[in-house]
């Protein structure tokens, strides 16, 4: 077995673990570190449920190997709420009924956070393009778009 020790900063905590080269980053995050907020939907890079911020960029963690992330700084959905206080995006998702089953929600939130971090006042079209890589089979997307627009209009730090 080909293993290597990697060091990764996730949500401000430094993790040092041995991984096999073939281990996907999303499996490392969920199964090795038990940060199970990041979901595996399709395993083929289509659904976006596994979206995380990797050195600041939104990426799909099922299309990366954990070993590639050695030395990286990562944020997952667990980074959003602080001390029981929902992140403004999470609050808006709750208020606008932007989730039903909730499976896509962590990925949607990370994709939305990536958008608002770079573009705090997006147009509706920009929101649509930002979540294009994220599939939701419950909501028809309308309430998700409304929630991101609502969070943006409040102008709070996201």
């Amino acid at each position: 077995m080909i293993e290597k020790t990697i060091k990764v900063d996730i949500n401000g905590d430094l993790y040092e673990r041995d991984v096999e080269a073939r281990r996907l980053l999303v499996h490392f995050i969920r199964d090795d570190l038990e940060l199970t907020g990041t979901h595996v939907g399709c395993d083929t890079g289509n659904c976006g449920a596994c979206t995380i911020l990797y050195n600041g960029d939104a990426i799909k963690s099922c299309m990366m190997l954990a070993i590639q992330a050695d030395g990286a700084t990562i944020q997952t959905i667990e980074a959003l709420a602080h001390d029981g206080q929902l992140h403004p995006l999470q609050q808006a998702f709750s208020e606008e009924h932007a989730l039903q089953c909730g499976y896509c929600t962590p990925g949607m939130l990370m994709a939305a956070k990536y958008l608002l971090d770079r573009n705090p006042q997006p147009t509706e079209q920009e929101v649509r393009e930002a979540i294009q890589g994220n599939i939701c089979r419950c909501t028809g997307y309308w309430n998700i778009i409304d929630a991101v627009m609502a969070a943006a209009s409040r102008g709070e730090e996201t």
């Binding site: 080909i2 996907l24 939104a58 299309m63 393009e129 890589g133």
Partner: protein
Amino acid sequence: MLLREVEYARPAGIAEAIQLLSEHDNARALAGGQTLINVMKQRAAAPDMLVDLAELEELTVINATGDGTLELGAMATLADILSSREVAERRPILAEVASTIADVQVRNRGTLGGNVCSNDPTNHLPPLMVATEATMTIIGAGGERVVSAEEFFLGVYMTAVAPGELLTKVTIPPAGGTGDGFASVTVGSHGTGIVNVAATVNGEARIAIGCVAAVPVLVTARPDDESVREAVRTADLDPPSDVHGSGEYRRRLAEVLSVRAVQQGRSSG
């Protein structure tokens, strides 16, 4: 476990990368991984060694030279192309096309080199490379060589990059009054191509049609609509039929999209 066991190396320089690629029989260069990791899950590819190019920062550079030539490192991501001032000034069509590839997350990881080296016949960039007369710089143990885009794309998933070699750079010649265009019909707004066409117009229209054969098909014509339509009609295209469209439908699309791409080229020159 989805993937077969594999070795992994992250070389610090191009020479080391070439050495690793040539030393191992079944080694693959890993760029953004947005195709390779997925085909490894399906075991359609099962390399013994992955040579991760992530540390080769010199390959991410996008440069414009004095005469208007655009040099793009093979590891430039699609997102890099989208945000590049040099691309916006010299050849905005590259950013326009890059923006229609997949989604935000994939564009953040997916690279120019990966898109052209995977050479999926439905990819957007191969026809654009052929239409713009791009040249590709390939480095191997024997040194560096430069091939034209037309010679680069050899077959489905096959390019001129041989085992032990690495695509390092894509060079787009100066626009010099050339107008660029691109038109496609895809599955969904940014999905798999059914037919895509890139065109440049500079006196003559140079049209590269994707998704209709193993490699982009090059057609040249006078740049008026009827000449373009006639040239594509008489090009004897024999596109494949699949779940997304029949060969006959693709042949018809090739005509229509060639006219649209050339129209854009005429108006942007």
